[in-house]
Amino acid sequence: MKKILQLTVFLAIVAGLAGGALSFVNGMTDPIIQEQKIASVKENLEKIYPNGEEFKALDVSLSDYDALDAVYEADKGGSAEGYIYETSAQGYGGEVKTLIALDKDGTYKGLEIIDCSTETKGIGDQITGESFINSVVGKNIGDSIDTISGATYSSSAVIEGIEQATQHYNENFK
């Protein structure tokens, strides 16, 4: 009996020390990791929220949403201004990557096409054109968004991203 107690205490101490070491390293590296997560997309995030908002990557499970890659929160004065989703969905020749921002009142605040290099030049890349972007930005959740005729695959990929982002927003942040 005494032996078992001894072993238990020893293992508990080792595990406790290990936990302490881990929390120390985590505290040291976590801010850097967070910063890096944002650094790669920060330039694009600032295009959508240019007024000195602070961004942070949210640690949420996106396994139910195959078109969503990451979620960022834009904060101003300590409260959330809106949420920005990084999406990627199958277009005509490959994946179309976008950033779509939803304001706290449910308005599409911004849309940035990050990567549509696999889409046909002159046809699919119309999704980067102003007329398509403007047909999304400013609309509210529930408004319908039209595809571009002739560039159905490419614009559908963007809309797929928007729809999943909206669904996630409705379920988590509304």
Binding site: L7, L11, A21, L22, V25, Q36
Partner: protein
């Protein structure tokens, strides 16, 4: 001289991959490029050095009955630390090595050395053993990835593992004739199998020569 032998045996005579055949899972998976292999090698050396050091320090006070759980806790903690540090300072390498960094925990090389060497030998010997085994692992994955990258992509490239934008060299020899199978897992098995066969061939030939010399 004996100290040097402890170091050297990990490189050749007891090379963890080519001779002991330990830790094959990660070594097959990450050997798609030289850069990955060197990065993974360094991660393994770090973990192995620290785990051998700590375990040989504690070898007298760790109760024999629970030594394996204690080893695993120590190793898992070290691996997690290395993982977080890599995520913070070498994000590109962290991305490309993916799940195989946390899997260093179950890499048999680490636990194997802890159990069979560090728990029985002094601190200095254990550090030498870790260095030898770690470098042996690195050497082996570099050799495998050299052939896989060369055959699979038709060229060789090496980036600074700490900063992927820093290209050390990048050459292409026959990219039109590359066999992309070799960048796939099946290619890893073929490459490893061929290398093992070659090593075996060398060993057998050496043994035969020795035998012939005896007969004469």
């Amino acid at each position: 001289m004996k100290k040097f032998d402890i170091f050297k045996k990990g490189l050749f005579a007891e090379n963890p991959i080519f001779v002991l055949l330990l830790g094959l899972c990660s070594s097959l998976a990450i050997t798609t490029s030289l850069t990955n292999a060197i990065g993974m090698g360094m991660a393994v050396i770090c973990v192995l050095l620290m785990s051998n050091f700590i375990i040989s320090l504690l070898r007298k006070i760790i109760p024999n009955e629970i030594r394996i759980p204690v080893f695993i806790v120590i190793i898992a903690t070290l691996v997690k630390c290395v993982q977080m540090i890599m995520n913070a300072y070498t994000p590109e390498l962290y991305e490309s090595l993916g799940v195989f960094i946390p899997l260093i925990v179950v890499n048999c090389i680490i636990l194997g050395r802890a159990e069979s060497f560090a728990s029985k030998n002094g601190v200095l010997d254990s550090i030498l053993d870790a260095l030898g085994m770690g470098l042996g692992y690195t050497l082996a994955v570099v050799i495998i990835s050299f052939f896989r990258e060369l055959i699979g992509t038709g060229g060789l490239s090496l980036y600074n593992p700490f900063d992927a934008s820093q290209v050390i060299f990048q050459v292409s020899f026959f990219s039109d004739y590359a066999i992309s199978l070799f960048t796939q897992p099946a290619g890893a098995f073929m490459t490893l199998g061929t290398i093992l066969a070659f090593i075996q061939f060398l060993k057998v030939r050496k043994a035969n020569k020795a035998k012939k010399a005896e007969v004469k």
